[in-house]
């Protein structure tokens, strides 16, 4: 039987990955840019904040620096796509691939860093409340951003690039900005996750794109919100539901499912969510 504490842990992790989901939503849905930088930028955020924290930097400042570093990674992907005309998918793959080495350099060639004895954002008491407050704050900022003058232009680029061009919107600039903001959020997710877990690992980012995308799809499918602010919230809900489902599934010992089956389970969930979407569209 799954314990209440484990459900709460799933919600905490789901909330943290909600930031990643929002980042992925911004690229894949808002600006229609298939960005695969995510796995690299998630680990980058984790590596940057962990390295800074063990070197005595304030965890809040470390989180902000990881946010900026993720933004820089996204900026590079955007530049490769816009200025060097490299396809979005390939540009993201190249940057994520390069980030593995960059992350190892940042971590001083160590594959992992422990934060067990360091001052982190979530010291142990009121962790859930702290996470909820941070995520709520971020959601409000993103919703405000999307409905600002800038956000309207950003959405216009994703919905209808040709219209955006004739409407005087610098689509290149908006694309780079969108990918940068997205990866900044993903890196922040990585930073929060490593601080929550108490360690940073070089392979922490693997699969974060699929997990984030699955969360976006689950959120869209289950809540079916049509208004932009609620869609952003649905990304977070989708992420929480994903974590709870995975936790419940991993505890379903009757099926013989173990942690080694996590990727398989995630893959099935993604396929399932995509098929449900397709069936609903065809209906």
């Amino acid at each position: 039987m799954i314990a209440m504490q484990e459900i709460l842990t799933s919600i905490d992790v789901g909330l943290i990955f909600g930031v990643v989901s929002i980042g992925i939503y911004l690229t894949f849905r808002t600006i229609n840019f298939a960005d695969l930088t995510c796995d690299g930028s998630f680990a980058l955020g984790s590596a940057v904040s962990a390295t800074l924290i063990v070197n005595g930097v304030n965890p809040y400042l470390a989180s902000v620096v990881s946010l900026v570093s993720g933004g820089a990674a996204g900026f590079l992907t955007g530049i490769l796509n816009i200025k060097f005309k490299i396809a979005d998918l390939l540009a993201g793959i190249i940057v994520a691939f390069m980030l593995y080495s960059v992350n190892l350099r940042i971590m001083n060639n160590a594959p992992n860093i422990t934060l067990a004895d360091e001052g982190v954002l979530f010291p142990g008491t009121n962790t859930s409340l702290a996470i909820f407050t941070i995520i709520l704050f971020l959601v409000l900022i993103i919703v405000y951003l999307l409905f600002s003058r800038f956000g309207l232009k950003l959405r216009a680029v994703g919905y209808n690039r040709q219209f955006a061009v004739i409407s005087g919107i610098n689509t290149n600039l908006m694309t780079i900005a969108g990918v940068s903001i997205s990866n900044a959020l993903i890196a922040l997710g990585g930073s929060l996750f490593s601080q929550y877990q108490g360690f940073c690992d070089i392979s922490q980012g693997f699969g974060s794109l699929v997990i984030g995308l699955t969360s976006v799809i689950i959120g869209e499918k289950i809540f079916s919100f049509r208004k932009e602010p609620l869609i952003i919230v649905s990304c977070v809900f989708g992420s929480i539901l994903y974590r709870v489902f995975i936790n419940v599934a991993l505890h379903g010992s009757t099926f013989g499912i173990g942690t080694q089956d996590l990727n398989l389970l995630t893959g099935f969930m993604t396929i399932g969510a995509l098929l449900i979407r397709k069936r609903c569209r065809n209906a």
Binding site: R149, L152, K153, R155, A156, Y159, N160, Q162, F163, V165, I166, S167, G168, I169, N170, T171
Partner: protein
């Protein structure tokens, strides 16, 4: 005033020369493949000419990217689904269109309602409705309002009745003819279907073999 000097684009436009005076309304006709859309895209900046210059009101805009040209050039596209954003509301579409000129920072509902009331389609009462719920004719009419909501030097109309039925075509042409011509704005419309755009008030030119001749 719009002036094209020896503008060439591949084998489609070959050393095209054309002058449209300030305040003039001109309709360019031509068969399919005559180069009308290429001409539209070259003036709006989507296509960069191989050679030649494009001068608008004394400014050489040849090297300007399309988003910078849109400060002076306003366009209505053939397909209203591309000329508007279906996923956004009417108000959001109008707000986006009003941003074309940085000096325009209007999110003024009363202003939008006033602009839409000219259409006589009751769109002013549906400002918060998604544009995808509108008919093709209503979307094209909205597109026309969006093109003229902010100040402009040149209005480009690309086959604006091509995707509409005769009734809606007539409505759109009436709206085009209603555009205030007292402000010295230049308008260039292109079409292959002269019947639907017959009521267009202005001069006529013909595009044939990549060159413009008087029709």
């Amino acid at each position: 005033m719009l002036e094209l000097k020896d503008v060439s684009v591949g084998n489609i436009l070959r050393g095209l020369n054309m002058v449209i005076g300030r305040g003039e309304y001109v309709l360019i006709t031509g068969e399919n493949g005559a180069g009308k859309t290429t001409l539209f895209n070259t003036i709006s900046g989507i296509i960069k000419p191989d050679s030649g210059r494009i001068i608008l009101s004394g400014m050489d805009i040849t090297e300007l990217p399309p988003h910078k040209r849109s400060v002076w050039i306003s366009s209505v596209l053939q397909d209203p689904r591309i000329g508007t954003i279906g996923e956004m509301t009417i108000a959001e579409n109008l707000y986006l269109a009003s941003m074309r000129r940085n000096s325009m920072k209007r999110n003024d509902i009363a202003f939008f309602k006033d602009k839409l009331s000219v259409l006589e389609m009751n769109l002013e009462d549906r400002l918060n409705e998604k544009v995808r719920n509108l008919s093709g004719g209503q979307r094209q009419a909205l597109s026309l309002v969006m093109a003229t909501i902010a100040d402009y030097e040149l209005l480009l109309l690309d086959e604006i009745t091509a995707s509409l039925d005769p009734k809606n075509s007539s409505t759109i042409m009436n709206l085009v003819n209603k555009i205030d011509r007292d402000k010295g704005k230049t308008c260039l419309a292109i079409t292959h279907d002269t019947d639907r755009i017959e009521s267009f008030r202005g001069g006529r030119l013909s595009l044939s073999n990549g060159e413009v001749v008087k029709s």
